[in-house]
């Protein structure tokens, strides 16, 4: 017999996934506003930010209610703690998408600095990290969560690469400083999105295996 509580936990996961898909879409649209020079995509991201914020409050309320009324233990408790933390990370991903969308609007007022090669790769990587971390949660898949952790370095490397490249453009032609600087901000925001996906993956490992893999250098005897 399925218990009412389990049904509520499933529903909570579904709502978190929906929030995740809103955040992921916002990132995709914001980056494509830059890549495809489509300013209306930026406007969409700004208009849809409230939906993500509303989801954050809804999920928090659901977690509070489930904790207060069911006093969960073991895996149920770990799931609720993980969802509560992931909720915060998804909301921040929504904020990073808004930052990118605003940068996009400023970038589009200037001629394109350079052909976009690393930026779409970085965006694909970061979006896939968010998607896979949430899939890992739903499937209880520790290996998938671990693979997200491993990918964070690639995103960081692309950010450094982009930064160096854009710096040379800025030094060569001061007229490009403004747009190049905004592109650096976009890269910085994508790198932060990768960090949030990493946080989500760490929370998934905590939920699935009960292991806290944050800050591995710390002594946790």
């Amino acid at each position: 017999m399925e218990r009412h509580f389990e049904h509520d936990l499933d529903e909570l996961k579904q709502r978190l996934l929906w929030m995740g898909s809103l955040a992921e879409r916002a990132v995709h649209q914001a980056v494509h506003a830059v890549l495809d020079a489509e300013e209306h995509l930026s406007e969409t991201v700004l208009a849809e930010e409230d939906a993500i914020n509303e989801m954050q409050i809804e999920i928090d309320e659901r977690v509070q209610r489930l904790l207060a009324l069911n006093q969960p233990m073991a895996a149920d408790l770990r799931l609720l703690l993980a969802v509560s933390r992931i909720n915060g990370d998804l909301e921040r991903i929504g904020d990073q998408a808004v930052n990118i969308a605003q940068s996009a609007m400023r970038i589009l007022r200037h001629p394109q600095v350079k052909p976009y090669v690393d930026l779409p790769r970085m965006s694909e990587l970061a979006e896939a990290m968010v998607r896979d971390s949430l899939n890992a949660l739903v499937r209880g898949d520790q290996d998938l969560a671990q693979s997200v952790l491993r990918r964070d370095d690639q995103v960081d490397k692309l950010r450094d690469q982009l930064f160096r490249e854009l710096l040379t453009y800025m030094m060569e032609d001061s007229a490009q400083v403004f747009a190049a600087f905004e592109l650096i901000l976009v890269a910085k925001n994508l790198e932060r999105i990768g960090d949030h996906a990493t946080n989500i993956a760490e929370d998934v490992i905590y939920f699935v295996a009960g292991r806290d893999v944050r800050h591995p250098a710390l002594d946790r005897r």
Binding site: R3, Q71, P72, M73, A74, A75, D76, G210, R221
Partner: protein
């Protein structure tokens, strides 16, 4: 002199920050030197039926150990073996070792053992006597010759009952509420200054406010007493105990620090039981 452009610079403090609230890290198992009761290969039989199977457990000094598990899993039977209370039931048999401070309890005088290992039951069972006499009774039986009044007051204070009954000590114990009766039974058990207190579902007949009082009392008693509590209420085990043992079908399945057992249990059967997905 350290200086930048000739201006003397104040030395930077290199003192490390100290955590003002230093928290000791807890281990997941009781340490060797602090064991009050050690149970080894314990088997218990009601006639031909075995109720406890090869149980090994260490109960650490000045800590609360909770025993949880579904009805009929043998946790109350096990608790009663710790002060040989099962011997009052006919046709029962016990095998294995129970060491109290290293001494085998089956070789001790049973009255002396029960003075050292007190017990509180599910339903408060005060004697049909006054509040005072309920506490004094155990002392008299044990031949206590000192100042009885002082010890009765001390025991009632330790059981957090003194303030409520100090003016009605001659009144019948049955005039007290259920929660007060249970604390009176605890005061009665404490009067002979036991080293171990066994509590068999002490709050199952009490309301939440009274339950909270008993749990607070257990917390305070830890300074002077080692406790083992059988409870069906997992929130109570989580709140009130330092270590938790999960039993199933007469066997010990898992024993660890309470916070570990209720957040990251090792055995899937423990997980299933504490999350209510049992069976």
């Amino acid at each position: 002199m350290d200086s930048v452009s000739g201006v003397p610079q104040p030395a930077l403090s290199v003192k490390p920050f100290r955590d003002p609230v230093h928290m000791e890290k807890t281990t997941t198992q009781p340490t060797e030197q602090s064991i009050r009761l050690e149970i080894a290969d314990l088997n218990f039989f009601y006639g031909p039926k075995q109720a406890v199977f090869g149980l090994n457990l260490k109960i650490p000094t000045h800590k609360v150990t909770a025993l949880i598990g579904p009805s009929g899993c043998g946790k109350s039977t096990f608790l009663r073996t710790l002060n040989r209370m099962n011997e009052t039931i006919r046709n029962t048999r016990v095998e294995g070792k129970v060491l109290l401070d290293g001494q085998e309890i089956h070789q001790m005088d049973v009255v002396g053992l029960r003075r050292r290992v007190g017990m509180v039951f599910q339903r408060p069972n005060p004697f049909p006597k006054s509040i005072y006499e309920n506490v004094a009774y155990g002392l008299r039986v044990n031949g206590f010759k000192g100042r009885l009044d002082e010890l009765v007051e001390k025991s009632l204070r330790r059981a957090a009952l003194w303030e409520e009954v100090k003016d009605v000590l001659k009144r019948s114990a049955f005039a007290l509420s259920g929660g007060q009766q249970q604390r009176l039974c605890i005061a009665r058990a404490l009067a002979v200054d036991p080293e171990v207190l066994l509590l068999d579902e002490p709050c199952s007949a009490l309301d939440p406010v009274t339950t909270a009082k008993i749990e607070e009392l257990m917390f305070q008693l830890k300074d002077s007493c080692t406790m083992a509590i059988v409870t069906h209420n997992m929130q109570q085990a989580a709140r009130a105990s330092d270590f938790t043992a999960f039993m199933l079908d007469g066997k010990l399945i898992e024993h660890s620090v309470t916070s570990k057992l209720f957040t990251t249990p090792t055995d899937p059967r423990t997980e299933a039981y504490i999350t209510g997905r049992f069976g």
